[in-house]
Each structure stands twice: as C-alpha cells, then as structure tokens.
C-alpha cells in the first residue's frame, strides 16, 4: 500500500430520521467536509448489525461511523440504546483483535445538527489519518502470501444459498 497517496475510506451508517437528515442539512447549508466518507442509509441506528461494521472493515474500510438520534430521541423509542450497547461490545472485540477502537465511532446527531456532521466527519477522518490505513484485505492477502503458489486463497467465507432442508435426512 503506497502510504503517500493513501486516503482514508470510511463507511457510515446513518439513521434516516436524525443523522442522515442532518447530513442532508449539512449539504443544504453547503458546509464542507472531507470526501472520505460513504454514507449508507438505514431506518434506525438499531438496524446496524455488527456484521455490517465488520464487513466494512473486512472489505477495506479504515473506519466506520454510526450515526443515530440522541438518547431519548429515537424515532423507534429505544433503537439507539441497542446500538450503543452493541457498539460498546464491538469496541471490545475490535480492541482484542488488534484494531484501534478509535476506528469505529458512534455519534448522536439530530436532524438539525448539520454542523456537527461536518465536525464529526472531519474529526474522524483526521484521527484515522493519524492511525494510518487499516487495509484488512491487504494485510490478509500479505498474510496469505505464505500459501502455496497455486493456492486460491479464499479470503472471506463463501456465502451459499440456503441449503435444502437436511433435517429429514439427518433426523429422519
């Protein structure tokens, strides 16, 4: 990975009601922020499956940002509290896996806080710039370089269509 022209890549999961709307407001207000973020819209931060975060990191994201409504403001009552708890646990898992906890971030941003969107994104991009590239695909590929030349290293598990129901075969 040529470090000199490396640009952080950050995947963001924003809830449709607050943070996504705030990002729209940042746009309408023509606030300027770093272009390293890719926002994915979900209805609620509570929809953020920890798998999404891991998947993003595994596919090459250097950081992940989750944005939801402020505590008490969730449009679905308490979705954001569920997110908070998952996030706290996920941070511990990432830490144990040698990934700086700073690479993932949870922020409460209400629909009116366009300025906060700008501030948070710029700040996160800066922090990740300091941390440097995570480049999980690259690291794993380098790791797999030890495999035999003909090896077709399958870096991620293959995802298969659901199998035919074997219960009969097995229990029957």
């Amino acid at each position: 990975m040529p470090e000199n022209n490396w640009q952080p890549r950050i995947v963001a999961f924003f809830c449709s009601w607050c943070t996504y709307t705030a990002a729209d407001l940042a746009g309408v207000s023509r606030l300027k922020y770093a272009p390293n973020i890719r926002i994915i819209r979900l209805m609620c931060s509570g929809r953020v499956d920890p798998q999404f975060v891991l998947e993003a990191l595994a596919r090459g994201a250097d950081g992940v940002l989750i944005g939801g409504c402020h505590p008490g403001d969730c449009h679905y009552a308490e979705g954001n509290f569920k997110t908070l708890r998952r996030y706290q646990m996920l941070r511990r898992v990432l830490g144990a896996m040698g990934i700086s906890e700073e690479r993932i971030r949870l922020e409460w941003i209400s629909a009116s806080e366009g300025e906060r969107v700008r501030m948070v994104i710029n700040d996160l991009v800066e922090r990740i710039r300091i941390l440097g590239p995570l480049d999980l695909p690259g690291r794993l590929a380098a790791c797999d370089a030890e495999l035999g030349a003909s090896a077709q290293a399958l870096r991620l598990p293959q995802y298969r269509q659901p199998a035919a129901d074997l219960r009969e075969v097995i229990h029957g």
Partner: protein, 665 residues
C-alpha cells in the same frame, strides 16, 4: 422468503446534473461512463434535471424501450425525490421498489470542493446502489386507515384557526391548551399592525366560535402527556390539570372572586405581565374562553392549608362550581393526525444587563408597553411612568436580544412593526416624542412599508444604531432624572446620548422553554435554535418529519398574525387531505420472519417497541405483524440466526452497498 429471479439484470443508471448543483463539482459524464462498465448495467445516462418531467419521461421510455428491470438514479437526497422517481419507475411499468437512489448532491457535490474526490465518491456511491438494486425484489405498499379526528396542541391564534378550519370541515377536533384560557399572545395585544384594528375585536369572535363549535372539544389547563402510535392511528394521553372549578358549572359571574378572603388582589397577574394583581381565584382575563374562573393552588389558603373560611364557596352557592377535591386527570384519545401550534416565548431582557431592565423601572418590554396602552390593561390605556407621570420622551430599542450571536441570532420579524405600532399609538395618544433605535427597519409584507411611512409622517424619530447602553448616570443637567440612551447615530456618524423618560425594549421571540419536551413527546425535530423543524423549508413548510404531525404558527419560527393564520390554515388543509384520502401508503420496509428458519429462541420478541412480534406457543416460532411493524430493523440486526429479513433493507442489500462503496478505491 426465497426469491426466484430468472431474468438477467437490465439496470438503467441515471446521473443528474441538477443544473450546476451537482455538475459543478461532480463529473457526471465520467460517473455515467463508469457505471456503464458495472455488472448488470445496460444503459447509463447523465441528464440535466432528472426530476423534471422530461427527466421522468426519460426513465419511463427507457424502461419500455430497453426493457429495463432495475433503475438507479444518482441525484439528490432520497428524502426529497425518492417518491418522484419511484412513481416514474412505476409509470414505466416496473415495480417501484426495483429502484435505488444515490445521494450525490447533499452528500457529495454540496459538501465537497475537490472535484476529483467528489467524482470518485459519486462513482463509489453509484457502484453501491447498482450492486444493491440487483438484490431488490418487487414489493407492495400497504395502506393504513386514517382516524378522522385531529388533535390541535396550543390555543393561540394559530391553534384556534386550525381547529376552526377543521371543525368547519366537519372533523372532530380536540383543542388542548396549557393555560386556563385560549387566546395566546394575541389576546394580550391592543391593536394589530399594519391595519391597527383592535386585536380583541378580531380574536374574541373566533374564541367564542371555538367555545360554541359542536365539533370542537376544548380542553384548557391541559397538556399532552404522551403520544403513541403512528400516522392515522395515534393514541394521545392528555393531562387535565385540576382547575378546582367545574368548568361546565361555572357561569363566569366572578362573585367568588369578589368574595375571596383576600380582599385585595395580591399576586402578579400573568395576563398583564405582572403589571397588575389578581387573587388566588381569578378569571384569566375578561374575554377568557372558557368563561370559567380558576384557582391557583400555590396561593389559595384552602388548598395550601385547608383552613380557609371558603367564602368563595358561599358566593358560588347552589351552583357548586368550586370543587376543592378536583384532581388532575389523564384522558386518552384517538386521533389520526395532530397540529402543533405551541407558540413562542419572549426573550428575557435581563440577559442584557446593559439595557437596565429590572434595574430601572421605566425600562419595559414591548409586551409590557402593550398592556400599558391597552384599554383593558392595568392603567386603562394610559401610558404612565413608574412615578405615575406621563412620559414626554419614549425610546424603542429594537433587536433587543435579536440578531446577536451571544443571545438569539435570528431576526424575530415582528419587532420592527410591533415597535412602530406602539410608537404610532403613543404619538397619537400622548403626543410624547418617540424615538426608534434600529439596525435595519424590516417592514416587508403587505402594508409594511406604508406602515413605516405612516410612522415617519407621524413624527416618530428614527435613529439608525444599535443602542449600546441604557443608564441613569447623568453627565449634564438635562440628563438628571432621565434614562440616557447611548448610541451611535450611524447615519449622522456620531455618538449620541439621548435622555428619555421611558425605554421600551423590542424583545424578540424564542422557542418555548419546554419546546424540547414537546418535541420529544410529538416525535418531531428541532432546529439548532429550538424551533420545530419543518419537513422542507419551502416545499413542506407545515409538515414535520413525522407523518401526520403538522406545525403552525410561531413554534416553527417567528412570524406575525397573518402568517400564523395562513400557516394554521395550511396545516389544517394538510390534515384534511390526509383524512379525506382515507388512508396512507406505508413504506414497505417491514421486517418479516421466515418460519422455517426461526428457531423460536424468542430473542427478538421483546425488542420490538411496537409489540409487532408475536410468539406462537404451539408452533414455537415468532412472527411479525406487518401492520404493526414500523420498519426500524432492530430485530433484524439482533436475530442471532439471521432469520429475520427486512423489506427494502435486507442484509444482502446492505452488504452489497458496503462492498460497493468500498469496491471503487
């Protein structure tokens, strides 16, 4: 839910220039070229305005001519135009949900300046949407019925007008007001600009109409405590505070007030902004609706100690309207939509110590001045100083607390006109010299400029300059005993000291102190300043982000009476449109459980805030009631065996998006 989709993908991709809005920063042609190389894309175009009729027509024609089975549009925020394009896709004969939108305006062109980086970002977002849309399946929208009753929160002029409009259209309206009477701020005004007609003359008939209307249930001295449900089907809990007077039995004769053991009115009267006094039992103001007295539990001896002679009870005699046993009540109602018109609060000028409010008794607010010149006010309409004398020189300090980064940044829009109104009335009634200190006179709107002309013609003096200080420190004999305003007369280019008898601070409007609480209860958003946020500042000015909740009047931002009424009418019309449509299409983003996959672990059941997940004890499986599901996806993310799917937000769809945004380096 297993999907069979044998057809090969035929994706049409469109990137919108939005005039210069997008094309000025993003190289749209390059994005279109890039998209054309992606799997499944058979057609890729860039176009000036995708949301225009020709733009939508283009999609329709391409679906037919090129046999497209998926459409992606990269343009503005889906919150703005997703519906537009889905409709266009449907008009082309395709299921509207075989569509995905890419936000390259609000999230890209408008927030970045580096063209190469912005174009790269647009490509990545486009790739994500193209991969995602490949997974989309046809979906059907469902229609939820709309309960025809409406709740209006706030009984100021906006709430009154909205309630009457709806009631006149035959809808049942609950009007809930926090104070013991409806009327709001307008009831406190003497005259209204720019026509100078008497506020009471135009407001009182409307207040009476509310009282008399058979379709309006009026609950004063009440607050909304809780809102549950969703558009078309809200359950609202209203807290009806104890008035200690049975409204329906009280005839408003006020004999009890006469008879109260307090011989003299002793407590500050809110209606007169503390300029006059009232008793513990009182009528809020003469024209109050309902015409029923109220007892202040903080002041009433009986309610505080239980040891009063209760002369009021005797006075009420066999009408038995007074009820010391009355308790606060919680009432539940069902409505389909709500109009929030909770109004504003005035800026407290104590926050500007250099203006001397609270230190010098003859420094007043505009509302205090209003009450002093009102014929129903504490002085019967005579403008008097603290000393009892009539002022000979009065000054108005405009923008008191407004347009100031330290207090309120915004312009309250009405203070210029309000001050000019008071200035004219004072000129007319007292002949006093009136000086208006202003930064900019804002008299827009119909009749505004003419009103300014009239003030000038009446000899009101205008000094352009923001007052730096109001003090009582004299530097010359002429200043002895006066309030001295220090200001730069910016047009004359000199600093002046001007001695006055009375200084009126034109305080602006602020969001209500409990606006955040109301916002939470009603599930709305607030702007950074604390005003309730409209769905779109131009296109949806009375809608909120919560379907079925509308806003009117000053709770949305400062405005004058005509604008408040216009907005109240608009909000009522929106509610009517909703009711008369009979139902509302719901976004098909509900979650579902595949019965054969579910292990019955029950992890999801209690996570649902809407109790949409039920557990069947016989089958030992969970299932989701689509009618109750609001589509948050919390259960989907939490299902440990991945057995819950969510329409429009399937795991696979999100995974594709993640891979897509990262596929383009």
């Amino acid at each position: 839910m297993k999907v069979k989709d044998d057809q090969p993908l035929r994706i049409g991709f469109y990137v919108c220039h939005c005039g210069h809005n997008i094309a000025g920063v993003v190289d749209c042609a390059a994005v279109a070229q890039y998209a054309a190389t992606l799997e499944g894309v058979v057609l890729s175009r860039d176009y000036k305005y995708m949301c225009s009729s020709p733009g939508q027509e283009l999609i329709r024609e391409d679906i037919r001519d090129h046999n497209l089975n998926r459409v992606v549009v990269a343009s503005c925020s889906p919150l703005l135009h997703e519906h537009t394009f889905r409709t266009a896709v449907a008009a082309g004969g395709l299921n509207p949900f075989l569509f995905q939108m890419v936000n390259i305006r609000e999230h890209d062109a408008w927030v970045h300046t580096d063209k190469a980086a912005a174009t790269d970002k647009a490509k990545a977002l486009a790739a994500a949407a193209i991969r995602r849309v490949a997974r989309h399946r046809p979906l059907e929208t469902t229609r939820a019925p709309i309960h025809p009753d409406v709740l209006v929160v706030g009984g100021g002029i906006s709430g009154i007008h909205a309630a009457l409009t709806l009631a006149n259209a035959g809808k049942k309206v609950y009007l809930v007001e926090r104070d013991p009477s409806i009327g709001g701020h307008m009831a406190q005004f003497d005259k209204t600009f720019p026509t100078l007609d008497c506020a009471a003359c135009i407001l009182t008939p409307k207040m009476s109409a509310v009282r008399a209307h058979k379709n309006i249930v009026l609950w004063t001295y009440s607050e909304v405590a809780k809102v549950e449900g969703y558009v078309g089907n809200y359950t609202v809990t209203v807290r009806r505070k104890a008035r200690y007077v049975q409204e329906e039995l009280c005839v408003g004769c006020q004999e009890c007030v006469e008879a109260c053991v307090f011989k003299e009115p002793k407590f500050p009267d809110r209606f007169n902004v503390g300029l006059s006094r009232r008793k513990p039992i009182y009528m809020p103001f003469p024209q109050a609706v309902p015409q029923a007295v109220v007892i202040d539990p903080e002041r009433c001896i009986e309610l505080k100690t239980g040891k009063c002679k209760k002369t009021c009870l005797e006075a009420c005699a066999d009408r038995h309207a007074i009820d010391f046993q009355q308790k606060e009540e919680l009432v539940q109602i069902h409505v389909g939509s709500m109009i929030v018109a909770t109004g504003y609060e005035l800026f407290d000028p104590r926050r500007l110590p250099h203006y001397g409010y609270g230190r010098y008794p003859d420094v007043l607010t505009t509302l205090e001045c209003e009450r002093l010149i009102s014929s129903s006010g504490p002085t019967g309409g005579e403008l008097r100083l603290h000393s009892g004398q009539a002022p000979t020189a009065v000054g108005f300090v405009l923008c008191a607390g407004s347009r100031d980064y330290k207090t309120n940044r915004w312009c309250s829009r009405t203070c210029c006109m309000h001050s000019m109104k008071l200035a004219q009335i004072i000129r007319e009634r007292t002949g006093a010299e009136v000086t208006l200190f202003y930064i900019d006179i804002r008299a827009p709107g119909k009749g505004g400029e003419e009103f300014y002309d009239r003030a000038l013609a009446q000899g009101v003096k205008f000094v352009r300059g923001r007052v730096a200080e109001v003090s009582d420190c004299p530097l010359s004999p002429a200043e002895q005993g006066k309030l001295i305003v220090r200001v730069e007369d910016t047009l004359a280019g000199m600093v002046r000291r001007i001695p006055l008898d009375m200084v009126v601070l034109a305080v602006g409007m602020e969001p209500q102190a409990n606006a955040q609480e109301v916002r939470r209860i009603m599930n709305m958003s607030c702007s950074a300043e604390g005003w309730f946020l409209e769905k779109h500042p131009k296109m949806a000015p009375v809608s909120t982000f919560t379907d079925g909740v509308f806003i009117a009047g000053c709770c949305q931002g400062p405005k004058d009476i005509p604008d408040s009424i216009a907005q109240a009418g608009a909000a009522a019309a929106e509610a009517l449109a909703l009711i008369d449509a009979g139902g509302i299409d719901q976004e098909p983003n509900t979650a579902y459980i595949s019965e054969e996959d579910c292990s019955g672990c029950k992890s999801c059941v209690d996570l649902c805030p809407y109790k949409a997940i039920a557990f069947d004890p016989v089958k030992e499986k969970a299932s989701i009631n689509a009618a109750l599901c609001k589509g948050c996806g919390v259960c989907v993310a939490a299902c440990p065996s991945g057995s819950i799917g969510q329409n429009l937000f399937e795991d696979q769809e999100v995974f594709e998006e993640i891979e897509g945004v990262l596929a383009h380096a």
